[in-house]
Symmetry: C2
Subunit: 687 residues, 2 copies
């Protein structure tokens, strides 16, 4: 059950433990904020000294305090466990927000304190936010001790919810929200997440979502995701309802980059899992605060029908830079020509340009701007409009900004206002925000955010799992020892998954060898048995066309260390691809695929997806490969059947779920053509 309750989000009374007159202390600052933002329930201040602190009923002893729904703790860490016990057991308190630091983040002693608190809270069915957090803001109250921390929702304006594992990052993101005119609705600083993590808050937002009332945009800053499955489930559910989520997950590390080969599981790092998780849930990932806030700002306008953007500007340079960035994301801006465009041009000053960007010059008038917007609204090849409007400081841009805002509110298409003059037009921009407008200040930051939003494929809904023979799979796995599976068991697993594999015959001596080659038919390949890294020791010989070469190679291989025999396979021509999966703690199987060859290794061209993988997601993975064009065939060379490739990804994903003992599986190479894909070599390691 989700720990977040009504006492936390909509408390009838709030106690501030450590409430103070000193507003430079968290206890004083949070009390002040609560009062200032018009919380209309009962406020009790608890402080061993003082009375009537900040004009509120003050108790020197918590024992004297009446029952309370919610408590905000700004007292030393060591005093918190007892306080929580008293609150829960004697005061009916079911929501605790702990601002204090000195818990798990500071060492084992702090961890113990934290555990005691959660144990108490769980016993009484109370929710705990933090510790080591800056507080929360809901529709009912602002329980935040940092500034900004004020409720600034405006009626009729799309709001944004914010969840962060870093208190300072909440402060900075909130400041940036103000700079862009974004209204925050719910803010959760989760601190150490002793009991409540981002997953729980997403679950709560998912469960309480009401279209038209709840925020349609969520910003996240996370340093860890302890329960990826739960996180994904609720994020995907929210995006499925039309909520847009953008998130930073920091601490990416650089391990994957150093990996020598992407054909192995070495590239399958936790960060790749996060990337896959976000994609699956339809979350747009950002790598910095400014990017996050720009994406959130774009999302407050909703998602446009398509990515065909009209750029309207009275300053040439920024329009061109905006177009450059869109081009770099392969988003082409439509070119405007024809009678209507010429008519529009005739209404603009000499030297204006209408092809897109539409540049109506620094001297352009507001009437011209409105005529341009009319023009863009009428066009079938425009999904949204970006208006760049700065100030050279000679005249007041406020009337223009008001007209743009009015237009934004009634327009059938999204209009993004880019107002670069953060100094010259500071007042007019502030005014624009007050009236509910959200702005961008830098056109290329806007363009990157727009591109990320436009190119986000949305969440991938689950398909029914592919039909694989689970009974056989279980039986093979259960009868195998841990470590690498035998070739025989591996082959049987492929058969159980319906993955076609190459014909192969084991030969231990010359006679068996020659017969095997005849049965399979020349040319053949032979590979030493029992070695994992066959190629590296010279244990693979390809394209053997005749018996003489066959025997020579066989004799050579039999001298390799531990070589007992060889595998004889037909030579199959086609394009080499590979598929693999690796179990990542917390995430489950991370499936990956790519084209064979040293080039794709050199550029780390590999696509990842978390199991389970839907058809659409499998196709997306394949098409996201940098070399994906080659899979379609090129220069007269046959391609690889994409449907089969996608289906194999799904089957390997399903296999790993059916057999969670599988730590790592690699099918490398698979050889494919337009019709089918055949596994040549497979390695499976189980625990």
């Amino acid at each position: 059950m989700n720990p977040i309750n009504e006492q936390l989000t909509n408390p009838k009374s709030i106690a501030i433990l450590g409430g103070s007159e000193d507003r430079s202390k968290p206890g004083g600052a949070v009390l002040h904020n609560l009062i200032k933002n018009g919380y209309n329930g009962y406020i009790y201040c608890v402080n061993t000294k003082g009375k009537n602190i900040q004009g509120q009923i003050t108790y020197n002893d918590i024992g004297d305090m009446p029952h309370v729904d919610c408590a905000i703790l700004a007292i030393p860490a060591a005093a918190c466990p007892d306080a929580v016990k008293t609150l829960c057991s004697k005061k009916g308190c079911r929501a605790v927000i702990i601002l204090s630091a000195g818990f798990a983040e500071s060492g084992p002693e702090g961890s113990l304190l934290q555990k005691q608190i959660v144990d108490t809270a769980n016993k009484y069915g109370a929710v705990v936010i933090g510790p080591n957090c800056t507080g929360i803001m809901t529709e009912r109250y602002s329980g935040i001790f940092t500034t900004p921390g004020s409720i600034n929702r405006k009626s009729g304006v799309r709001t944004v919810d914010l969840i962060s594992g870093s208190g300072a990052t909440i402060v900075y993101l909130w400041e940036q929200s103000i700079v862009h005119g974004i209204s925050l609705a719910n803010v959760f600083s989760i601190g150490n997440s002793a009991q409540v993590g981002a997953e729980d808050i997403l679950e709560y937002l998912d469960g309480t979502y009401i279209k038209g009332k709840s925020s349609d945009v969520i910003m996240l800053y996370l340093e860890s995701i302890p329960d990826p499955e739960k996180f994904c489930r609720h994020a995907a559910s929210l995006t499925g309802k039309g909520v847009h989520i953008t998130a930073i997950k920091s601490g990416k590390g650089s391990d994957g980059k150093r990996a020598a080969s992407c054909h192995t599981g070495a590239m399958a790092t936790p960060d790749q899992a996060i990337e896959s998780l976000f994609r699956k849930a339809g979350i747009i990932r950002a790598s910095g605060r400014e990017e996050l806030i720009n994406i959130a700002a774009v999302l407050t306008y909703g998602k446009p029908e398509g990515n065909r953007l009209a750029i309207v500007t009275h300053a040439g340079g920024p329009g061109v830079m905006l177009a450059d960035v869109l081009n770099s994301y392969n988003i082409n801006i439509p070119k405007f020509t024809g009678k209507d465009a010429e008519l529009l041009k005739s209404r603009l000053f000499n030297g204006s340009s209408i092809s897109n960007p539409i540049d109506f010059l620094a001297t352009g008038t507001l009437d011209q701007l409105m005529a341009i917007i009319d023009f863009c609204e009428m066009r079938g090849d425009v999904d949204a409009i970006a208006v760049i409007f700065g100030s050279h400081g000679l005249s007041d841009v406020a009337p223009a900004y008001r007209a743009i805002l009015d237009r934004i509110k009634i327009s059938g298409k999204i209009i993004y206002p880019i107002f670069p003059s953060t100094v010259n037009a500071a007042g007019a921009i502030k005014d624009f925000h007050k009236k509910g407008g959200v702005t961008f200040s830098e056109e290329t930051d806007f363009a990157k955010a727009f591109a990320k939003v436009a190119l986000c494929p949305g969440c991938f809904e689950n398909d029914p799992a592919p039909a694989i023979d689970i009974k056989s799979i279980r039986s093979i796995i259960e009868s195998s020892a841990s470590g690498f599976l035998s070739p025989g068991a591996s082959r049987m697993l492929l058969d159980a998954c319906g993955i076609e594999r190459t014909k192969e015959i084991i030969a231990y001596d010359r006679k068996e060898l020659v017969n095997a080659a005849i049965e399979i038919g020349y040319p053949v390949a032979i590979k030493v048995l029992g070695h994992v890294h066959k190629t590296d020791i010279g244990g693979v010989s390809l394209n053997i066309a005749d018996e003489n070469t066959l025997i020579t190679e066989f004799l050579r291989m039999m001298h390799l260390k531990d070589c007992r025999g060889v595998l004889v396979q037909p030579m199959i021509s086609g394009t080499e691809v590979y598929i693999g999966a690796k179990k990542l703690p917390g995430f489950g199987p991370l499936v990956f695929c790519g084209l064979g060859g040293v080039y794709t290794d050199a550029i780390k061209d590999v696509a990842f997806g978390l199991s389970p993988i839907s058809r659409k997601e499998a196709q997306y993975m394949i098409s996201s490969l940098k070399c994906s064009l080659l899979l379609k065939g090129s220069r007269g060379k046959e391609g690889v059947n994409g449907t089969v490739f996608a289906e194999y990804l799904r089957r390997i994903s399903a296999l790993c779920r059916a057999a969670p003992e599988i730590e790592e599986i690699t099918l490398d190479p698979l050889i494919g053509n337009n019709k089918k894909i055949i596994a040549i070599d497979v390695r499976i390691r189980i625990s």
Copy 2:
């Protein structure tokens, strides 16, 4: 000779034509700005109406005005040519700044006006800035009509010069400079560049550069570079003197992306030429205003000795995000361990982290911060220090900011101040700027800028050109018709350049064919003569091991359209690479290279360099290939000799300069191993 003169940069008198009381007009605004910024020469106002405009001597007729050094024109375009004539011929004026629009940007009539002005100015040796510009600022005066436009140099502070082809972009960049605390020294709005372009201003800055007095950082915003060679010469000269240049060149286009193959010249677009030009001159390219300003801000601190950054933060999140971005650029941050690090940790609060990022917590003190900086300054593995310091709004950060600034001024290592709280700490940040500090507000924007600065190789100085046989080259070229060169002439050109080529014999019949194969030695390759796209029509047959196959393939090829004979070559094994060059108008030959194969084509992995190419630049080009690791050899496969590859790039570059008739040249493939590289096929088109 550079048109920029003393009358422009340091005029004893300035006339404002169209000077006005109305400060919402350019003529009024520029006059106001000139007065407000304390210009101490004579100011004459010329206006048909009014007197004593803004308290200045005002003439209703230009004829009454005394001699003047410099004139700023804010009058209708049509009136400018006559005004310039009067100024130059009768008033001794040798510097004209034309703010007015309505010239080349608005059509052919305007172009004519512009030309008349330049002709007059050239006749009298006068300089013309603009038209259609916002003015200039020098050490002596501010002749800018937009805001901001005030002289804000502070003594002892590194200044930045700004040159822009877009007037609005100057406004916005200037506003951003204020936000970051950057002091601008010289500002040039070049407008239509009728006479003076960015090249000329760079030449001027280059010619007048005085270490310690001139700005050491230049920001450029450009939409075109009419004279790339001049641009490159002076930019490289400036960077050679220790000046840092960062530039936006917008209007990148997207043609190169659509090119089917990068082995041909199709990828050699003007934007690739710009990229190469900037690299050659040591210019750091930015793609947006915020990136440009962040790079400039980093550069105001000079270039650090290395890229080993210590990250000091009292907010966990931003420190991790900063490290993530550096990792993404393959810049590893040093990890701090050992006795000193433990000692430092003991001085910090519980829960602090010292491994890098050094996180001293939100509650950390100023003393602790100073101890951390001491620690970083002592370490041999730290080149520079980034300090992230925001405000949660409870206390005043001004004392900390003052201490940081004091430290910046005396520290032996660069300290970059990242102050994210642009709202909470707005006043303290402003104060920091007033005292000469330059700040960053977003850690990932800083990190990207730092990475670009740290990874910039600097300008590439020229080596002596490689010794090629220019006499032979000229004779071959001059005796060839335009179009594709014959195989014989192409081969001779390679020989004249000292590029090794494969042995080859032409065979027109079976007998010649069989003899040729015997002479060359099996296996051989045969290729039809005379076709440019041989592969596409089946005109190439490789790996022919015996006479039977040879004859079969020959007979097949002789049935291809227009096939008169074949070329017989030995099969050479090794790694395929290619080199090409294409003449780009204005830029000269753009040389390119890459590894062969469909993969490198699919990901457009190609490196470019403008001729002439120094040894270092050639090596840089090769190492910048995404697949460059493969050139070193991998998985037991031999690599390609990098010295020879680089030398061939230089020789092709030299060939194109010796024979400017060459429009396009492609050596594809060349086959290389550890010792040598041999050209297999070459195509050369001349004009």
